[in-house]
Symmetry: C2
Subunit: 160 residues, 2 copies
């Protein structure tokens, strides 16, 4: 930042920028996680568990596969997570009768009831961000665009 900084190699400048954007995204992601951790502690849920419950509350009972499509998570992540939700009495898991490969995840009564207590979470989160609804929608739009582009790029990079 000083006037006497010798012009750095352009590549090194990129490295600096990369470091900055890396940090920002990583830090934002963890900061968000931290706020959710604090707020969700009352409900006895982790952040990813809360995401699963949100989908079930909105979509109703779903097979693990569909749940994974909504959340972009695979069974390697979901299986143990769902076991913990089951142990907590919030969901039940049953083999589908029609397709024995599939496992249906259902909300229990306690799981359904928890929604009432979860209703206050979003307000607290939005207030924690300090953003208004429009800003949040805008940020969401950018992030979605980013995610779409990144997913496509990962596929390309992966197939090199």
């Amino acid at each position: 930042m000083t006037a006497t900084t010798p012009t750095p190699a352009p590549e090194a400048e990129w490295l600096r920028l990369d470091r900055q954007i890396c940090f920002s995204l990583h830090a934002a992601s963890r900061a968000f996680n931290g706020v959710y951790r604090v707020i969700l502690k009352d409900l006895g849920l982790t952040y990813p568990q809360y995401l699963v419950m949100l989908v079930l509350w909105e979509e109703g009972d779903l097979p693990v596969k569909k749940l994974g499509e909504h959340l972009r998570l695979d069974s390697g992540t979901l299986s143990p997570l769902l076991k913990r939700l089951e142990a907590a009495g919030l969901v039940s898991r049953e083999r589908s009768a029609r397709d024995e490969r599939s496992v249906e995840v259902r909300l229990t009564e306690a799981g359904t009831a928890l929604r009432e207590r979860a209703l206050e979470v979003p307000r607290r989160i939005v207030s924690a961000t300090g953003f208004d609804v429009d800003e949040i929608r805008d940020l969401k739009a950018r992030l979605d665009q980013l995610t779409g582009t990144l997913d496509a790029a990962a596929l390309e990079e992966g197939s090199r």
Copy 2:
């Protein structure tokens, strides 16, 4: 989205919005991670390991404490990570002579040399985002603002 949807309770609407922003941020974070994973595989680094190396390349040798301040990570995360970087021959760890509590993390020759190969990473990442430099700077600014607000909010929520 149908015209016959009964007006949902406002609280439920918030829950929907929360679900959307949650997902977006979580997905963006993981998508970014995924692109880095692919690109960094060549260098034999994970994303957090890359972050550590970026700091060391820019700041030079540092004690674990300082490293953690730059990255907002504690020794619980850094200690095992640094052990792996040491095992990979990229850094060395030595107790400080002046303060025996402190451990100095130093780049080895291989660690310093790796920077050359890392120089191409940022270009590939930026290209993967599909954003131009100004958009990236803008996104970074928003994310930093968000992180700052969230960290402050987590403290408040935590002290309830």
